[in-house]
Structures are given as structure tokens and as C-alpha cells.
């Protein structure tokens, strides 16, 4: 069971990586600031480095959402197994749909479902749930959106140039924002590595402690750190191209100054939230920033249909991951056979979704770039698209 949980935790780390590449790298890819492949490589390296930088492990798996500890319930490897199953499946589904959604919320959802089914309803701390998951989910995109809106407005107001005599527009020369994008998106990627790899390390360490193979209160072992860092880096490098497409082109069209404003807002919000005591989800912050910046730039529109889909996805994150977690917990309760069934069913579901993703990739191979967002774009096409867009931007910049 312990080995199974560790394997599952590492796979969760992997899905977390490729789910969240988009948060940092979607906008620079969309504006052509960084080439797609370079962008995911950069993000992967920064995630790897970030994972090694921060190895302090949380005392609880769920951060207090489930009443853990000496006076509460004992979170067994069984529950963690079930919770991870729910989180992974939800991550895969949202990836298939190209929806950015918070990996940690999926994990919370899975754990809550597993705890309710495995232990009982009173094992969940509702107040902490409200404070740590539900309220941030409302306020993260709101804060980031407003800030990104203001920043985009300012960036465009400050750099709009008119000829003092004729009043006609001069060349705007906003290409400089692309350089800035590289730094802001790198900060987001590094912050992600320090935060998210650590979660998996914490899970594995707590499972090892529960299994008695590690002293309580000791930090993660070096192989745990290394494998978690590697898993998240490989996941990031694999790049959730579907989600990148949604964030970079599906929500709104992103231009360099706007992308810079969005990323600065994302980076500020993440750093502020992790140091001032109100945790916000990176994914939700990044999505909010992109939407806000889209509203802030004149001559662009936000695709509210897409926004609605994403919001719906967030709404379903907790219950959907929770249901899978609960079902898995019930299966695991029945004994070894149940564990095997759950593991096989989970692997099957993941494989099935992977195959479906392959199919639609081939299916849309002939379709050109005009197709709507959220659909798979093959790597080469994505690259060409970004290049074409960069060219278009440049020519627009010179035209103005």
C-alpha cells in the first residue's frame, strides 16, 4: 500500500506539473516572448530548482481541512490513496477539456470525499474548508482580475504615443514588454516549484512516517525530494498544451504589454498570498489575471463562454474529485481485492483519457488554427502559430 501511494503521489505531482505549466508560460508563449519549447524547458528547470529550494514539510496533509492529528482522526495511507485517485482523475479530465483548474483543490476534494466515505462526515472541518478553499476560489480571480485590469490600463496609457502636432499615432514600440515577460513568468514558475512539489513531498513523508519507516517529525528523505522534483519537472516539460492554449488564446487575445501586466499581477498575487497568510491558488490567480488584462486592453474581447466553462470546472472540482475519492475509499475498505480493483480502474481511466487525447490530436490535425480554443494543437502547429502571431504583432507595432 505504501509503495502504491508513493507511486500515485508521484503521478499526481506529474499531473500537477503539466496542469500548471500554463499558469506561468501561457501568456509569454501567446505573445511570442518565448518559443513554446523553450518556455516549457525554462519552466521545467525552474520547477526542478524550486522543488530543491523548499523542502520544509507541512505537518498535515490537508492543511487542517480534515481534522487530523492526535485529537482528531488518523489519516491512513488508504485515505490518501483514495484522495490522490480522485485528484488525479479530475486533473486528467480538466486537462482533456483544456480547463485550468487548481490541483491542490482537486487534492482537497479527493481527500474530503475519501475521509467522509472512510471515516465519516464529522472528519471534515467545514470552517477551514470555507476559509481555505471556497473563499479563495472566489477572491483569487477577483483580486488578480482587478489588479491585472488596472495594470493593463496603466501600461497602455503610459506607452501610447501620439504625435504632438498632428495627433496621429506614432509607433508604439511596446515590444520591450516581451523581455519583461520572461522575468515575470520565470518568477511564477519558480514559485510554483517551491509550493507544489513540496505538497507531494509532504504526502510521501507523512505516509512513510505512518508506515513506521521514518522517524516522526523528520524532514523528507533525499530520494523523496529528488523524485518529487523530477516528477514535477517532467510534468511541466510535457506541457499541458491544451490548457496553455486556453489560457494563452482561449480566454482572450494576449498582446505583450497586456501579457506583462497579467503576469506581474499573477506573480505579485502569489508572492503576497504566500507571505501574508491568505493562500490563493496559482491557477485561479493566473486565470483571473488573464481575464482582467483582456478586459483592460481596448480592442479585445474576453470570451465569456470560456470563462463560464472554467468557472463551472472550478465549481465541480471539489465534488467531482470528492466522489471519486469516496468511491475509491469504499473500494479500499473491502480489502486487498478492492485496492487492486481501484488501482486497475484508475490506471484504466487515465489510459483511456490519454488515448482519447491522442485521438482528438490526430483528428484535429488537418484543421487549421482558426478552430476554437480548448482543443488540442499539435506541438509543431503551436510553434508555427506563435511565430505567426509574433510576426503579426511586430507588423502591427510598426504600423501604428
Amino acid at each position: 500500500m505504501v509503495a502504491l501511494v508513493i507511486a500515485l503521489a508521484l503521478f499526481f505531482d506529474f499531473t500537477n506539473g503539466f496542469h500548471d505549466t500554463a499558469n506561468a508560460m501561457a501568456t509569454p508563449i501567446a505573445t511570442g516572448a518565448i518559443k513554446p519549447k523553450t518556455a516549457v524547458t525554462l519552466a521545467a528547470i525552474l520547477n526542478l530548482v524550486g522543488a530543491f529550494l523548499s523542502t520544509e514539510v507541512a505537518k498535515t496533509v490537508s492543511g487542517g481541512i480534515i481534522r487530523e492529528g492526535s485529537d482528531g482522526v488518523q489519516i491512513t495511507p488508504d485515505i490518501i490513496f483514495a484522495g490522490l485517485m480522485g485528484a488525479i482523475l479530475w486533473n486528467m479530465i480538466t486537462w482533456l477539456k483544456g480547463l485550468p483548474s487548481s490541483s491542490s483543490h482537486a487534492l482537497f476534494g479527493g481527500l474530503i470525499g475519501a475521509a467522509i466515505a472512510g471515516i465519516g462526515f464529522n472528519s471534515v472541518n467545514l470552517e477551514t474548508l470555507l476559509q481555505k478553499v471556497i473563499l479563495p476560489a472566489v477572491f483569487a480571480p477577483l483580486i488578480a482580475g482587478i489588479v491585472a485590469y488596472v495594470c493593463t490600463r496603466l501600461a497602455y496609457a503610459l506607452t501610447s504615443r501620439h504625435d504632438p502636432e498632428t495627433g496621429s499615432k506614432l509607433t508604439q514600440k511596446r515590444g520591450g514588454f516581451r523581455t519583461g515577460q520572461i522575468f515575470t513568468s520565470s518568477l511564477v514558475a519558480l514559485a510554483h516549484g517551491t509550493n507544489d512539489a513540496q505538497k507531494t513531498m509532504g504526502i510521501i513523508t507523512l505516509v512513510l512516517i505512518a508506515a513506521g519507516s521514518q522517524r516522526p517529525g523528520s524532514g523528507p528523505q533525499i530520494w523523496v525530494i529528488a523524485s518529487c522534483a523530477l516528477a514535477i519537472a517532467v510534468g511541466t516539460y510535457a506541457g499541458g498544451w491544451r490548457i496553455i492554449r486556453t489560457m494563452g488564446a482561449g480566454l482572450t487575445e494576449v498582446k505583450p504589454a497586456q501579457g506583462f501586466a497579467a503576469e506581474t499581477s499573477t506573480a505579485s498575487a502569489i508572492l503576497a498570498s504566500s507571505h501574508l497568510g491568505f493562500a490563493l491558488s496559482t491557477t485561479q490567480v493566473a486565470s483571473g489575471s488573464v481575464i482582467g488584462s483582456g478586459m483592460g486592453r481596448k480592442g479585445t474581447s474576453v470570451r465569456w463562454g470560456m470563462v463560464g466553462k472554467i468557472a463551472l470546472g472550478w465549481l465541480f472540482t471539489l465534488p467531482a474529485a470528492g466522489i471519486v475519492g469516496a468511491l475509491t475509499a469504499l473500494l479500499v475498505k473491502t480489502g486487498v481485492v478492492g485496492v487492486v480493483i481501484a488501482a486497475v480502474a484508475g490506471t484504466g481511466a487515465v489510459l483511456y483519457m490519454f488515448l482519447v487525447s491522442r485521438k482528438s490530436q490526430v483528428g484535429h490535425h488537418n484543421a487549421v488554427e482558426v478552430e476554437e480554443a480548448g482543443q488540442a494543437v499539435r506541438f509543431a502547429k503551436k510553434k508555427a502559430l506563435a511565430r505567426a502571431r509574433a510576426k503579426a504583432n511586430e507588423s502591427k507595432d510598426t504600423q501604428r
Binding site: E56, V147, L154, F177, T264, L271, S273, L276
Partner: protein, 73 residues
């Protein structure tokens, strides 16, 4: 409920993001003015632009300081 923390986070986000974006935009704009061919821009414009970028890079360094637990403890 941690409303105060929420407000602090929102405020800090707004202030820091606006500061960086304004400075960087000024830098971009000043570089553009300094690069204009038709007008003869004074030389200090370009150095002012670089100052703006330098302050922005300080902000990035501060971000790194916050991210890396070794420094911020």
C-alpha cells in the same frame, strides 16, 4: 474568517503590481522616445529608462528573496 489577511493580500498585490508595471511601462516609453529618429531627445532620457528597468529588476530580486526560503527564513 481572515478578512484582514485577505485585504492585505489584495492591497499588496495591487500596490506591487502597479509599481512594477508603471515603472516598466515608463522604461518602455522612454526607450521609445529616446529611440525616435525625428526628434533629438536629450541623452538623460535613455539613462532614465534604464533606471526604470533597474528598479524593476530590483523588484524581481525581491521576488526571488521571497520565494527562496533560505533568505526569507
Amino acid at each position: 474568517m481572515k478578512w484582514l489577511e485577505l485585504l492585505t493580500v489584495g492591497g499588496a498585490t495591487l500596490v506591487s503590481a502597479v509599481t512594477v508595471v508603471v515603472l516598466y511601462s515608463l522604461g518602455v516609453r522612454l526607450t521609445a522616445i529616446a529611440g525616435d529618429q525625428r526628434t533629438t531627445a536629450p541623452g538623460w532620457l535613455r539613462s532614465l529608462a534604464y533606471t526604470c528597468f533597474a528598479v524593476c529588476s530590483l523588484a524581481v530580486l525581491f521576488g526571488l528573496y521571497l520565494i527562496i526560503p533560505y533568505f526569507s527564513g
